[in-house]
């Protein structure tokens, strides 16, 4: 028995035989005439069209249709014609094909963001065209029996070629929680593990168990292991389904369960998932990819839609958190050596552009128009002076509940003074973890350090929570940490009063919290604080909570 860890992106436990998918990369010369190259492109386009029609999922269908259009693109045909000018058989057409794509590839890459994501499509079309010419194209994957699909990476064309009725689970070496594989798996409700580096050791015919909630793949699992994982999964599902209504511990201690949202449609899913409000509304979407600042009226319109979707509930809005991994073109104009430590969040008020004031004005107006219980907080606050500055500006616009994100070590260390300036705090555990551990949370090589279970992070949270309790300030958590049921119990034990998470995670956390009392939460929080690593904290807390 050997186990491989990855990121669980779609829950469920299954056991099955591995079907390994490998991509064809042609590593020898491929001769051809210009006509043959164009015919190959046409064949690739036709194949992608066919796969698009057969695709079960709308996002996959759209990506495949877009790829088919690229393969038939007049500009691409022209670029190939300019490189293969003579009507002869060229000894190797691969360089001409790659070169024809390279100009478009570079243009899209330099645009960044959504546009740069298309680069993979271009590479895939080039690979497929070359494979088509060399006669080595990978045929449709034929699954004769239900199988666990294992691959280095799965492209939309790959998943579209799979007969999903026979697909028990997906395991890929690459990718993250928002990868195509993750979206497809969740859409179909089949277990999936991504970012599983060691998956390449698995071969067709191996028998594996996949636990898509816990991100675990076990080769040759014994019966006891399978039973343990299946029982745990069944219990988690039953628990999630059993409890509804506001969040409570088993002794009726209330824990506000809120949802994170970034758009009007997120707010609608939050309301549908029974959230007691929005604990983090991210306002970046309206600003990202803009050359100029959205007007106050435009902002009022968006905030009004969000507040209306959550009518009658509390809504916590974070002011624009631009900078670092979310640059806004008209604000983040100076290149920074170290953007995560640069002028981001509330620090942008140093530029004196008044963007935050206009945002506060728009928020206040939308809240008045819709009679919303509006709470507003500023991101990236370090000092009591910054907290006081934000509070004064927000109160000037009549905002009743003003707060700060506690996401830097400085804010946690000075929580007694920072929280004294405002009405509430919210722990941004994603950034707090990266800053406490001094480890980039986007760097997969450091994932062992960027775990919010780390006792160093929990001690920072504990310090903030103790001070919040003394000052009688509500303190929430908005970050991935809140969505982990065991960690949620630890956070409540530390003194956190509300948890905000993706709407999809609410039912499980609500169900779990209903099984523990306050004394147990305090007990496990002390155990976690005393641990010396994230793994140890997780294991020791789990031993108590699942006993």
């Amino acid at each position: 028995m050997s186990s491989f860890n990855g990121i669980g992106v779609s829950p469920g436990v299954v056991v099955g035989e591995v079907h390994r998918i490998r991509h064809t990369v042609v590593d020898h010369e491929v001769p051809g005439t210009p006509r043959q190259v164009l015919d190959a492109l046409e064949a690739v386009a036709a194949d992608l069209e066919r796969r698009a029609i057969a695709a079960d999922i709308e996002v996959a269908r759209e990506v495949l249709q877009a790829q088919a259009m690229i393969a038939q693109d007049p500009a691409l045909v022209e670029a190939i014609g300019a490189r293969l000018t003579d009507d002869i058989t060229y000894p190797d057409v691969r360089p001409a094909i790659r070169d024809a794509f390279s100009g478009f590839r570079a243009a899209l890459e330099s645009l960044g963001g959504y546009f740069a994501e298309r680069v993979h499509d271009l590479d895939e079309i080039a690979d497929r065209t070359i494979a088509e010419l060399s006669g080595e194209k990978s045929g449709p994957v034929i699954l004769s029996a239900p199988s666990v699909i294992v691959a280095d990476d799965l492209t939309p064309a790959d998943t579209a070629a799979l007969d999903m009725r026979y697909c028990l689970a997906l395991v890929v070496a690459k990718g993250g929680p928002t990868s195509h594989t993750a979206i497809v798996a969740r859409g179909l409700g089949i277990p999936a593990v991504v970012g599983c580096n060691d998956a390449e050791q698995l071969e067709s015919g191996d028998v594996v168990m996949v636990d898509g909630r816990h991100g675990l793949v076990e080769r040759n699992p014994d019966e006891a292991t399978v039973l343990h994982h299946k029982t745990r999964e069944d219990a988690l599902r039953a628990r999630a389904a059993a409890v509804t209504g506001p969040g409570r511990l088993s002794d009726s201690t209330p824990v506000n369960l809120l949802a994170n949202a970034g758009s009007v449609s997120d707010a609608v899913s939050a309301a549908n998932a029974g959230a007691e409000g929005i604990g983090l509304f991210r306002t970046e979407l309206l600003f990202l990819s803009r050359e100029t600042e959205p007007s106050v009226d435009e902002q009022v319109a968006l905030y009004t839609d969000v507040f209306t979707a959550m009518a009658g509930h509390k809504v916590v809005v974070r002011t624009l958190d631009a900078g670092s991994d979310k640059p806004v073109p008209f604000l983040n104009t100076v290149p920074e050596e170290n953007p995560a430590l640069g002028v981001r969040g509330w620090r942008l008020t140093r530029n004196g552009t008044g963007v935050m004031r206009r945002q506060l004005q728009a928020l206040a107006q939308a809240a008045t128009d819709t009679h919303t219980d509006l709470w507003v907080m500023a991101p990236m606050i370090d000092t009591p002076a910054e907290a006081a500055d934000f509070a004064a500006q927000a109160r000037e616009f009549g905002i009743r509940h003003v707060g700060v994100m506690i996401e830097t070590p400085a804010a946690a260390l000075l929580a007694d003074k920072v929280l004294a300036e405002v009405d509430f705090g919210s722990l941004g555990t994603n950034d707090l973890t990266q800053y406490v551990m001094a480890a980039d949370r986007l760097d997969a090589r450091l994932s062992d350090l960027t775990d919010s279970w780390h006792p160093a992070v929990l001690r920072a949270i504990s310090l903030a929570a103790t001070n919040a309790t003394t000052l009688a300030r509500p303190l929430g958590v908005c970050g991935e940490a809140a969505a982990d049921p065991h960690l949620a119990a630890v956070l409540v034990g530390l003194g956190v009063t509300s948890l905000s998470m993706a709407p999809v995670a609410l039912a499980e956390v609500r169900g779990f919290l209903a099984t523990v009392d306050r004394a147990t939460c305090i007990e496990v929080s002390q155990i976690a604080l005393a641990a010396s690593s994230a793994e140890e904290a997780k294991a020791m807390v789990s031993a108590v909570l699942e006993s």
């Binding site: 877009a66 500009a75 298309r118 979407l285 803009r290």
Partner: protein, 94 residues
């Protein structure tokens, strides 16, 4: 040659669904259609790669031109509608 200036309404810009719709409509019109920033170089609107490479963002103004021909005005109307409509309200990248 009829032409019209339109503001991009989709929040991801001229990308993904809006770009696909535009390119498809331009390619099936049978007329030569171009698109570009006002006063800037225009590209073939039937080329997905050229349209994507413009890197057009939400709120930008674009000029669409359709070559003279039968239905040129209605083709122009269709293309302008596509660019001027928000096609990604359920944007998953939120």
């Amino acid at each position: 040659m009829p032409s019209q200036v339109v503001t991009v309404a989709s929040s991801v810009g001229l990308h993904a669904r809006p770009a696909s719709l535009l390119v498809k409509a331009a390619a099936s019109s049978g007329l030569s259609c171009t698109i570009g920033r006002v006063g800037d170089k225009a590209v073939n609107a039937a080329s997905m790669l050229m349209v994507l490479a413009l890197g057009v963002k939400f709120g930008e103004e674009l000029e669409i031109t359709v070559a003279d021909g039968e239905n040129a005005d209605s083709v122009l109307g269709t293309l302008a509608d596509i660019v001027g409509t928000n096609h990604d309200e359920d944007n998953p990248h939120a």
